[in-house]
């Protein structure tokens, strides 16, 4: 810290399950330089002002998706957001919306993990290849169909942006549906029929009302709203096609 440092006020929504009935705001004065991220501001609080503050982080370079939080009410990666953008105003930090708060800025993400597992986010080939047969091949054009949707880093900002998920926690949600789409569209995969059952369910694509905020907050330009809404067409086709192309009892 040098004498040239500016001081910014950071308010954090604290919640300590052992002591608190409900969350409360606590304010900190944090010195910073123009190259410091909000995550670094939070780290400063933990290192110098209050060691009990809890938050998740890892890579510091917008690829691990751990440091997501609400920054002045907007879901953002705190490593990719800079303190200077808010100065001289103050910053209010809160755990990701629509998830239960475990402690301070840490959410209980088990619901998301369970949903992610349920869509089988891996390639399920029709006939598995042996090592001798080599890898599953894909053309650049085939890759291009899924490349954008495979950039998801599971940061959950889209869930914090989606009011439908907040209102209906059973909703499969933006990231899980996007990854489902990514594997369904992969030419090396053949488990589409199985995954369509999740999409067609009431908790699948039909719980989405196209608020569209998920795509706005996505730090990787994955555009989950596009993945979800294109699958409303797929789900409709899936429903009507069964009458003319029965799947032989599947």
């Amino acid at each position: 810290m040098t004498s040239n440092d500016k001081i910014i006020e950071i308010e954090v929504l604290r919640y300590r399950p052992e002591q608190d009935e409900k969350p409360f705001l606590q304010s900190f004065k944090v010195p910073f330089t123009d190259d410091q991220s909000v995550l670094q501001g939070v780290q400063y609080i933990k290192d110098y002002l209050d060691g009990s503050l809890s938050f998740r982080w890892s890579c510091r370079m917008a690829i691990c998706g751990s440091c997501s939080m609400m920054i002045n009410g907007v879901p953002k990666l705190s490593c990719k957001t800079f303190l200077r953008e808010y100065y001289p105003g103050k910053i209010t930090l809160e755990a990701l919306k629509h998830f239960p708060i475990e402690k301070d800025l840490i959410i209980d993400l088990s619901d998301f993990i369970n949903k992610l597992e349920s869509i089988k986010p891996y390639i399920i080939p029709a006939a598995p290849r042996t090592l001798e047969q080599g890898e599953y091949l894909q053309t650049p054009r085939q890759l291009d169909r899924i490349a954008q949707f495979s950039s998801c880093i599971n940061c959950m900002l889209c869930y914090a942006a989606c009011p439908q998920y907040g209102l209906k926690p059973d909703y499969l949600g933006p990231a899980a549906i996007t990854l489902l789409h990514r594997y369904n569209e992969d030419n090396r995969d053949s488990a589409k029929a199985e995954r369509m059952q999740l999409l067609n369910a009431h908790e699948g694509v039909w719980a989405c009302t196209l608020v569209g905020y998920c795509s706005e907050v996505c730090p990787k330009e994955v555009d989950p709203a596009a993945a979800i809404n294109r699958n409303k067409i797929n789900s409709t086709m899936d429903y009507f096609l069964r009458f003319i192309a029965p799947r032989g009892g599947n």
Binding site: V74, P100, R141, P163, S215, R230
Partner: protein, 130 residues
């Protein structure tokens, strides 16, 4: 013993807490005005089929300042809905490929305005000279 006690935040008043949500609610509520307008139009059709007097009464009712005001509001609502729809349409449709290149979202959005403009001009032409 676990001291876990996850805190679930309430959703009350969620749509007022972010300008994006307010615009979303605004977009969804345009359906009310468009719906009422459709009913008025249907009543007009019924009046048309019940004879000249009924039709003229309906036309007179439409010139009531309240009716005119409602139509202005309904028009604004429909235009706002159309703008929001044009902007999200590329998310709803499958990607369009021309000559092995994905057509950019902006071109699809602009294309819809051009198409809508042409349709309105044709309709206007039909009404004025048809």
């Amino acid at each position: 013993m676990s001291t876990r006690k996850p805190y679930v935040r309430p959703m009350t008043g969620w749509w007022l807490k972010n300008p994006v949500y307010i615009l979303y609610i605004l977009r969804e509520s345009t359906a009310v005005f468009v719906g009422i307008y459709a009913v008025i139009l249907l009543v007009g059709l019924i009046r048309l089929s019940s004879g000249e007097a009924a039709w003229n009464n309906w036309l007179a009712a439409m010139q009531n300042p309240g009716a005119v005001l409602f139509h202005i509001v309904a028009l604004c609502a429909a235009v706002y809905h159309a703008i929001t729809w044009f902007s999200v349409a590329p998310k709803v449709m499958p990607p369009v490929w021309i000559n092995n290149e994905k057509v950019p979202v902006e071109k699809i959005v602009t294309g819809q305005y051009i198409l809508a403009g042409i349709i309105y001009l044709v309709l206007l032409g039909l009404i004025l000279w048809g």
